[in-house]
Point group: C2
Chain length 191, copies 2
Amino acid sequence: MAENKILIEGSGKHCHVSQSTLYALFGDGFEMEVKKELSQPGQFATPHKITVVGPKRSTDVTILGPCRNADQIELSLTDATAIGLKPPIRESGDLAGSPGCKLIGPKGEIEIKEGVIIAKRHIHFTVEDAAALGIKDKQTVSVKVDGDRALVFGEVVARVNPEYATSMHLDYDEYNGAALSASNTYGEIVL
Amino acid sequence: MAENKILIEGSGKHCHVSQSTLYALFGDGFEMEVKKELSQPGQFATPHKITVVGPKRSTDVTILGPCRNADQIELSLTDATAIGLKPPIRESGDLAGSPGCKLIGPKGEIEIKEGVIIAKRHIHFTVEDAAALGIKDKQTVSVKVDGDRALVFGEVVARVNPEYATSMHLDYDEYNGAALSASNTYGEIVL
């Protein structure tokens, strides 16, 4: 990590599911395949998709593995509006009071009572990178992006964990709203 | 206009068409209907849609009236990526070198050689409002937005014209990336 330069990655709509939800949607004993390792160690994209049914429409989302304790569906505000949901902007795992929905898989369907969120923008930090910048877990920082759609993102939550790799995560509303791309992938952390 | 407070409006995917394109797609002598007056005086949304065909997929866009000299299709980066186009980020009317596409209407179809753009974010100013802030036509300003996705938009082009009403225009990537909504519609101009 050179100085305050931070790698920015766009996250498409996706979900995390519990073991029991996985079995309910894909059949008992189903095991996820790994399609691609993600930047966060141990996390992976799968080739498996489920259908998220909103009041207006439905949309297919990719499952990220491994299984977690709770089902969590992460949509962009544009995706959520299209299917008729108004989820809150939340950190991962903070699901209380978020909308539920029906989930459909190839072998079954279930209703979840909560779990649909818009991800609050955040940076995963290794302990070393955070320490080098004097940043603490849960601290809010800003990140400056250059280009045709230059902007400064505020309200970026720092998450520091020995299990992480250092990178910033945005959804595609934020990523495209800043015109980030393969040739414009870095931001500058502003404290 | 109270101090530096600016009304922010989201623009969905839309197009402006020439008279000849309108006739080619909807039939000779076709007259647009007015569905809704827009904030800029004389501009209106119509109930008419055309299909924009990209290399990967197509999408329907609303025609805004009245007719203009050149065809101009304004997509968000998310919309454009979905249909397989990579338009540049441009000010309205600056179309040289932008991608073309096929346009399909109920009575015909045409190929345009250029005209698909991602709108560069901008503020329409009345002469009075611009003067009160000391802002000149074509000047670039920044605009600060509060909330869960607080940010500062840079590269906002000021456009000053006696025909305008004062308001800022974003596409929905930018609008949703900042979590703007009916209850979070104002920004603050930062000079």
